[in-house]
């Protein structure tokens, strides 16, 4: 088997100190491989969002180890100095709502990331159009965000997450606002892109419509994860 895209070992996150301290993550172990779409499921308050924020290098874990590719990025403190660059270049984010920048058109919303990474404007836009094409929204490339439908906005959001070809994409409830058909379409797209770009995608969800589609699931409860085999129901 290939080397995991991301590995978590005994990840702990504690909020506060002393008697009032709350341990949101109590030693999470996880490994996700390139080209794989993994579900991270659990009830509200189980620690899903905290885990996602740790994975996204947005908050600092309290203990444990995080390895991205072959590089240890966290072990008793961040091992990477520029977390912003880490997020920009190596982690893609898909949010519950698309959260696109409303004053940029679809192309520039996607091209912004390569530009921030230092790519020339032309190359960044070419890359954006390529991904928008892969997601079947290239015909809306010049449209302003308010002119796009909910589904189109979510596709542009996915395109943005993949713009810098990150090894890992974190999707936070990406199907929450969508109906069943559109939700399954999004999952299909994520699977297709994971395979195509060899990206590891972690989907945080409690959407019963899509949970059966994952081949592998991490169920999180009381700050601990349990790995389960998913149904891997085919996507039509």
């Amino acid at each position: 088997m290939a080397e995991p895209a991301i590995v978590l070992q005994g990840l702990v996150k504690r909020y506060g100190e002393g008697a009032t301290a709350v341990e949101a993550l109590k030693g999470v172990d996880m490994a996700v491989y390139p080209g794989e779409v993994v579900g991270l499921v659990g009830p509200s308050g189980s620690g899903k969002t905290t885990l996602l924020k740790c994975l996204g290098a947005v908050i600092e874990p309290t203990a444990g180890r995080m390895v991205l590719g072959s590089e240890t990025i966290y072990e008793d403190g961040w091992k990477v100095r520029d977390l912003r660059a880490l997020r920009r270049d190596r982690i893609g984010f898909i949010f519950q709502a698309p959260y696109l920048i409303p004053f940029l058109d679809a192309t520039d919303n996607v091209a912004l990331l390569p530009m921030l990474a230092g790519q020339a404007d032309g190359a960044a836009r070419t890359r954006a159009l390529e991904i928008l094409g892969a997601l079947d929204v290239v015909h809306r490339a010049a449209a302003r965000i308010p002119e796009l439908s909910g589904g189109e906005q979510q596709r542009v959001s996915i395109a943005r997450a993949l713009a810098n070809k990150p090894p890992i994409v974190l999707a936070d409830e990406p199907t929450a606002p969508l109906d069943s058909e559109r939700a399954l379409t999004v999952v299909r797209i994520l699977n297709q892109l994971a395979t195509e770009y060899r990206t590891a995608i972690i989907v945080v969800t409690h959407d019963e419509k899509i949970i059966p589609t994952f081949k592998r699931i991490y169920r999180i409860r009381d700050g601990r994860t349990v790995e389960e085999a998913g149904e891997g129901r085919p996507l039509h």
């Binding site: 996602l52 997020r87 920009r88 984010f93 959260y99 409303p102 940029l104 936070d172 409830e173």
Partner: protein, 397 residues
Amino acid sequence: MINLAARDVAHGFGRYLATAVGLGLLIGVTLTMAGVYRGMSDDARAFLRATGTDVWVVQQHTLGPFAEASTLHDDTWRAIRALPGVSEVGNATFLTTQVRHGERWVRVMVLGFEPGRPGEPGYLVEGRPVARSHYEAVADVLTGFQVGERVRIRRNEYTVVGLTRRMVNQAGDPMMFIPLRDAQEAQFLKDNEAIVNERNRLAANPRINRPGVPGLLDTISEALTSNNNVNAVLVRVAPGAEPVEVAANIKRWKHLQAFSTAEMEDILVGTVIERAAKQIGLFLLILAFVSIAIVAFIIYTMTLGKLKEIAVLKLIGTRDRTIAAMILQEALGLGLIGFLIGRIAATLWGPVFPRYVLLLVEDTARGFVITMLACVLASMVGIRMALRVDPAEAIGG
């Protein structure tokens, strides 16, 4: 790299422009206030320039004739004329009064002068100079009079024979030039009833109307009802002579007070309009603070409306300086458009003001720099808020 500020502005251009117009009108008011102050100073200087005088000779120990009352005999000029460096001298009286023009009252400053001597209006835009020794006048166009119209000043009527421009006093009242003798009469002579009463009062006074002293009553009565006073003697110095030195010479030898025109400007600007200038200065200061507060509030509100986007931008790796530059550029753009609108507005509504509004290039430049600095200062509020946004806010709904 995409200019985020330009895109954001283009996205909500209508709202941005409306905000800039509001700010612009405020800046316009601020510029106009500065223009009113400048206009006030310029009016004072225009008045002094209008007389073509180098040295103002007034009553000793006074700052006359504008800051304080000053009275001189109208033959004082003879002694001054004989001093070295003096080329021309002329008597002048000043009288602020109301004259009727059609249905309205016009407040004017009447300057009594001797034709051909200092004190005469510098130039005419229409008509001719005063040529007769009585009952002719030259008026500033601001009075509204036309050549050929008649104006009543106190007891006499005058024909307007010429018009001049930008000749106003420090209060902005337009000037009206009439012959000295007429002005002396207008300024000092009493009305007929008062003269008759005065004569009766003198005749009833046994110390004046004494038996055995014929002619005493008539002499005193004549002295009281005639006038040989002026308010100032205006001096034009000879080529090569220094007004300050000539003024010093007059003060030293003639027991009079004398000021060069530069000194008289200082008196007018420094004393007569000082309080008005301070008031306007305070208004300017308040307006500047209000403008900064409004820009800060606008930028704060604009940033507040973008917090989620800023969180996303930070999460996906946008540098703080890119976000700060976006807010700063939007603030500067607001200031720039607002300033242009304000300057245009001040230019358009300036002439409507009753007082002269003088918009100087240096004031415009100073105002522009202050506006831009205010925008930078104001944007700090928005930038501070944006930089405190936690990228984690983009995750978790």
